[in-house]
């Protein structure tokens, strides 16, 4: 997740990473991890504190002054079998939201032009 500042809204974090940040815990799917009280206040998350506690790498590019927050390390790519939220633009110029397909079986296929 690209960040211009280390203070970022809990909503943005959830949208991009699937982690729902509350006052004393971070949850995704059926997994919850306790976090320190300083990590999140007034729905603003301190990304460096969160990174430390969830073992997320935080990479900085000094020249462009941007951070990149990676996924939590340790374990597997999926920490839960609950499908993460996924909202992406579709090819027709609209917005795709995986939630709208629930109730049917979904085959998600990743491909590329390269």
């Amino acid at each position: 997740m690209i960040l211009e500042k280390l203070r970022v809204s809990a909503e943005e974090i959830e949208q991009r990473t699937g982690w729902k940040i509350e006052e004393l815990q971070a949850c995704r799917g059926d997994v919850c991890v306790p976090i320190s009280p300083e990590t999140c206040s007034d729905s603003l998350v301190d990304a460096s504190l969160l990174a430390e506690q969830l073992r997320m790498p935080l990479v900085y590019n000094e020249q462009h002054r941007i951070y990149s927050l990676g996924p939590e390390a340790g374990g597997r790519a999926l920490s839960s079998a609950v499908a993460p939220p996924l909202v992406l633009p579709d090819m027709r110029g609209g917005t795709f939201d995986l939630r709208f397909l629930l109730g049917q079986k979904i085959l998600l296929v990743a491909w590329a032009s390269w």
Binding site: H64, A77, P84, M91, L102, I106, A110
Partner: protein, 224 residues
Amino acid sequence: MRTELKPKGLEVVTVALDTGGPEACRQYVLDADAQHPSVIDEAHVVDELFGIVNVPNGVWIDEEGMIVRPAEPAWTRTIDYSNVPIPEDTPPERVELIELARGLRIEGDAYVSAIRDWVAKGSASRFALTPDEVIARSHPRSQEIATAAAQFELGQHLHRAGFTEDAVFHFREAHRLHPSNWTYKRQAWSFIDPKQGPTPVYDGNWTDDVKSIGSENYYPAFQP
């Protein structure tokens, strides 16, 4: 396949992992006359969320939103290149490519049969995995692999913002930290050379990197 299985309750979503944006892949979608949701993922968010390291890859999600098979090679039919002939006048670099292609494992028939079984039987299908199996089969995520994801995202962000030279450092870091991630490599190589051949910018290229692991390992075998 979609025409057959959509009435039985399966929807297919295709996600294009293309930092080049919709322009890079729209023509393919138009040519395929796609009727299913067709989505563009310029930031490769899906790689990170689902642990995808090569394409094409498929993930199965059931009616309740549970993943029942994590990322694995997803083909619509088996392709066997093992007997592709190499005519005498074939240039050497082409010979090398054909030899690599001969070893590729493209097991679409087994994959499609598994999908049909799941669509018919749901969670009773032997191909639908339990949550613990899904997690255990998903890609490992060490500190290096997680950092590679952050580096790759920084690279693609700079690339999209027009700082293509500044992006290279981060792409190289992603390649160094997670060498078995083909999406990181192929995406970055293709910016320099669409054929993903050797360039002065990156240490690896498709032919040499596939040769080093053996092309039979490029797409892992389908695991029932």
